[in-house]
Symmetry: C2
Subunit: 278 residues, 2 copies
Amino acid sequence: MKKMLFIAGLLCSQLIISQERPDPQPAPDNFEQFSVGMAGYTFVNFDLDKTLEIMEKCDVKYLCIKDFHLPLKSTDEEIAAFHAKLQSKGVTGYAVGPIYMRSKEEVDNAFEYAKRVGVKLIVGVPNYELLPYVDRKVKEYDFQYAIHLHGPDMPLYPDADDVWNNVKDLDARIGMCLDVGHDTRNGKDPVKDLEKYHTRVFDIHIKDVTGPTKAGYSVEIGRGIIDFPAFVNMLRKVGYSGVCSLEHERNMKDPFLGIAESIGYFRGVIAATKEVDN
Amino acid sequence: MKKMLFIAGLLCSQLIISQERPDPQPAPDNFEQFSVGMAGYTFVNFDLDKTLEIMEKCDVKYLCIKDFHLPLKSTDEEIAAFHAKLQSKGVTGYAVGPIYMRSKEEVDNAFEYAKRVGVKLIVGVPNYELLPYVDRKVKEYDFQYAIHLHGPDMPLYPDADDVWNNVKDLDARIGMCLDVGHDTRNGKDPVKDLEKYHTRVFDIHIKDVTGPTKAGYSVEIGRGIIDFPAFVNMLRKVGYSGVCSLEHERNMKDPFLGIAESIGYFRGVIAATKEVDN
């Protein structure tokens, strides 16, 4: 009986400890319309388990699903297992992509994939000539299609102006994933571009860069030239209600501290700019 | 000849890459009077190499030296080697401590140690009855002595009020290391305490805590209840020119992501609150 009481006591004390120091301690609700998320590409060199471990440590709950974590040819069972694993960490896969689409068949495959994954947002990079076809597909599926802009590195969609000019006359469900780093590297101001184009901004990649040219490269948020306080204030001004996903492209074989620093910095900016508004 | 040109070309391209992407990219100068640093205690479970590796990744340049990294009995050669190692990473050891002092002999040892280490700031925890002796020593050495406050966990110096009341009639070089977490855990407001006592605040430990009582525990900065935007604004208002050192007491066997997140958050708050002042 004494032994049982002792064991009961141990269990109680364990319970109290676990109540006092839950792990991980979630970041407080920021009461914003937008959310902080993670672009799957950040973990191009790591599997889903590592991705979720780091997301849990940083308390990030939204993932843009990349094909190297969930291939386009996944079976329904594999997709279900993927979602179950995310759910076990409290993570929601809110979109798929970026997916490059160079033919109608690749557009078809991407829309079917998104449908089977159960998301209504595709981050995509379609060849320009496929845009009329994408226009038909968003009507057919009622999905949003966010074109990922990629700065001066490649000929497709260098910045927000380019995406806007190509989609403004298409279905309102075709817009952009505003990559603030690449937009900056193409000499543009992502704060102004968010203001101008917010009706077509369906997803955002956050990162920082060292300069406003092709030579500018990606660094931890706060170490580059992007004005994040102004950007966060603009998110509020335009009422952005999507996800700001960290696409960390620095030290990609050992990115973990940079990821945590970037998420911390972005949250610090959210907290500090909020005080001004209240 | 072709081969030599090829090799020369390779070397050039390597050079260009390393010029374009220096690693690590330093955080930009924040143009503040205060600095961001690291309390050695954060790395209680790790050696100096690991400490400096993480500090380099987070771009933190000031270290408060703990005795487990540089014992009080270190020889002058060991101290020189320690400084050389710090210098190789661009790090300055700006103070020693916290050092507990329970006798005059321990006070003597601490002052001699600080002198040999070459710093003019000791973070210490002297028994109350030793304060008159500490008063004599700061006059003798012309050092600053910052008493570390430790919340409700121990009887010595629970909060800033207690340190102030014990030192206000002593030499002006005796003050406090304002631990914002422990001050909060003792039910006090570190923002107000910084304003009230700033003339005697020589060092600051930054961290966050979950509640204003003994049950509150240390978490990543931004995940607790401390108002860091207000705190940073107060640092500016009182013209604090010392170091704000992260004393991270969360997941101390695997603290690295939490350290990076905390440093990032604090820097984000500095950047975002600065915009208001300009």
